[in-house]
């Protein structure tokens, strides 16, 4: 479905975000170093990486908050930060935690945010339009009922929703979301995922950073992995998750199965066997053939299928710089 959105028109298929050799140094420390990444129009792009890997710095550079030491940034076809005035109005952003004026209501906060910025039209008609946009944004994130309460009474999840509403209020072409799932309960995370997928199907490109693999795996179509400021991986999620050629077998008769498949068993983990495939007809065919062979031998098979690496395994394999780094990830 992403492909459908991505190839909708010629313009959205162009790179929406492109960086070249982007570097940011704080003194001797390189927070981001030589990052060259590309986000296509219609992507749901997930930027993964442990805490402190440079995700936030990268996001802030894309938005013109932090100035790059060297390298180039192009967002929506224009150079940043030089063309911030033209580019940023088309972007909705959530940068680390959401922020609002605590003594004002959620609605008042959105209204203030919407009224700020260049070329805000005045007059009663424009005011009505703005009020409608605020209503819509509140509705989209499910804050409709509490919009008149001061933000200081909001829970963390409600604040996150309000931040998201702020990002959506201008009907952006590109959403840049830094850790959007923070503070949301499982219900909220599911709502967020559905909202983002819906927006993406309507043509909005989504760029989000996260250290939560599961969140990215369920939502994104493309991932980039940052490690210590370097982009160590950038790939379509589907390509990353092509079967490895192994077959996973879950069986209560693991001992007998291991004996039967002698030599073909790559790894054994309790009742789970990772079996090297022999045939040339792909892992799916292997799984079926293997299943038949096991059942024929009188073994019980509770689950069988081609093996895919999880995103977590993939990320850990490319960011393997030490247990300290990956300890915070999971």
């Amino acid at each position: 479905m992403t492909d459908a959105a991505g190839t909708d028109t010629a313009t959205t298929s162009a790179d929406v975000i492109r960086t070249r050799e982007l570097t940011k140094r704080y003194g001797a420390v390189a927070a981001v170093s030589s990052v060259t990444l590309g986000v296509h129009g219609g992507d749901r792009y997930g930027l993964l990486g442990p805490n402190g890997s440079g995700k936030t710095t990268l996001v802030r550079m894309l938005l013109g908050l932090v100035y790059a030491t060297s390298g180039e940034i192009e967002v929506l076809g224009r150079r940043m930060p030089r063309h911030a005035r033209e580019v940023l109005p088309q972007i909705g952003a959530l940068i680390e935690e959401p922020a609002a004026y605590p003594h004002l209501s959620g609605r008042a906060n959105l209204a203030l945010l919407d009224a700020a910025g260049p070329r805000v039209p005045a007059g009663p008609a424009a005011r009505r339009t703005r009020r409608r946009r605020v209503d819509e944004a509140l509705e989209q994130v499910g804050l409709g009922g509490v919009d008149r309460r001061p933000v200081k009474t909001y829970s963390l999840g409600m604040r996150q929703r309000l931040g998201l509403a702020g990002a959506l209020i201008r009907r952006p072409r590109l959403l840049v979301l830094d850790e959007p799932g923070n503070g949301l309960d499982p219900h909220g995370i599911r709502d967020l995922r559905e909202l983002l997928i819906g927006l993406n199907e309507a043509g909005v490109t989504i760029f989000l950073s996260s250290h939560l693999m599961a969140e990215v795996e369920q939502l994104c179509t493309r991932v980039g992995v940052l490690d210590a400021g370097r982009l160590v991986l950038q790939e379509d999620l589907a390509a990353l998750r092509t079967p490895t050629g192994f077959v996973v077998v879950d069986t209560p008769d693991a001992d007998r199965a291991a004996a039967l498949l002698d030599g073909q068993v790559e790894r054994r983990d309790g009742q789970r066997l990772l079996v090297r495939s022999g045939g040339a007809d792909g892992a799916a065919g292997d799984a079926a053939a293997l299943n038949a062979r096991l059942v024929e031998a009188g073994l019980r098979v509770s689950a069988i299928g081609p093996h895919q690496r999880t995103l977590e395994e993939i990320v850990l394999s490319v960011t393997g710089t030490g247990s300290d780094h990956v300890g915070g990830v999971s």
Partner: protein, 305 residues
């Protein structure tokens, strides 16, 4: 953007609380003076205060003199110091900037809202003090003219409220620094009086803008609103100490608080312009220098908060 900043300023409870407190101080002082009938003797205490028992209409000037040394600069430093640093600490700064609001425009909007705040507080003090003076201390009495020290000259020739005010002018001068002999006792017309109060308000506002510029500059350096407000106040305290230090005579003409009290000269007849002009000049320099520094720093700064 300016409308947004003003809305933020005036929807904040702090703005109104600080204003009410600033207006309350002169009121409390007036209550005590009314009850005890004990005003400071001429030449002592806060400027104009010695004269208010004879002339309630002079109370706005006395009230401004009361709030100028501490209340007003504290309020201004807090508001201006909070302007950028407060948004940074609260996280709202980054969301404003990606709207996008250009950094220069944001700084200008912040400055204008600080100016609006200063004007509002000064005007509020003036009006509440005028009401306090009229209702509590009573309007000027003809007899007051004769009682006012140094006011016997021309003041005595025109009876009534207007001459009463003129009669107090020397008292003001005395409080400011014992310059009684240089003052004329000529009466002020109501129009003249209004002009002079307007002048004093303008002068005090500009003086406060010097404070605001320092605080605004510090506000772009740190993400701590408290730090920038206290930093600006520390600069003022240091200036006050140096102003009274004979050994520091060389730098005194350039200190931000050196001419703070020069607005009192508006109430002399004729207006004694020298210190007023210097005061305006030195504040203009402080405003320009610190705003330029604030702009240079803020527009090139990485926003990591």
């Amino acid at each position: 953007m300016i409308r947004v900043e003003l809305a933020k300023l005036f929807r904040r409870p702090r703005t109104w609380i600080s204003m009410v407190l600033t207006c309350a101080l002169p009121f409390v002082v007036a209550v005590f003076i009314t009850i005890t009938h004990l005003a400071p003797p001429p030449g002592q205490g806060s400027a104009f205060l010695s004269a208010v028992l004879q002339n309630g209409e002079l109370y706005p000037a006395a009230a401004l003199a009361l709030v100028l040394p501490v209340f007003l600069p504290v309020a201004v430093a807090v508001v201006a110091g909070d302007s950028i640093a407060g948004e940074a600490a609260g996280g709202t700064l980054r969301y404003l900037l990606v709207r996008p609001v250009s950094r220069t425009r944001l700084l200008v909007a912040k400055l204008i809202s600080v100016i609006a705040y200063v004007l509002l507080v000064v005007l509020a003090v003036t009006f509440t003090a005028y009401a306090t003076g009229i209702f509590l201390l009573g309007p000027s009495r003809a007899a007051a003219v004769g009682q006012a020290p140094g006011g016997a000259g021309a003041g005595g020739t025109v009876p009534g409220a207007v001459s009463g005010i003129a009669g107090q002018a020397p008292t003001a001068g005395q409080a400011a620094g014992g310059a009684v002999t240089s003052l004329s006792g000529a009466p002020l017309s109501l129009l003249q009086l209004a002009e002079r109060i307007a002048g004093a308000i303008a002068f005090i506002t500009v003086s406060m803008l010097g404070v605001a510029a320092i605080a605004l500059f510090l506000s772009t350096i740190t993400d701590s609103a408290l730090g920038s407000a206290l930093g600006a106040l520390a600069a003022l305290v240091a200036s006050e100490i140096l102003v009274t230090l004979n050994a520091a005579t060389v730098v005194q003409p350039y200190l931000p608080t050196r001419y703070w009290l020069a607005w009192i000269d508006f109430f002399r007849q004729p207006v004694f312009w020298r210190d007023i002009q210097r005061g305006f000049g030195i504040q203009a320099v402080y405003v320009v220098v610190f705003l330029a520094a604030a702009w240079a720093n803020f527009s090139t700064k990485d926003i990591t908060a």
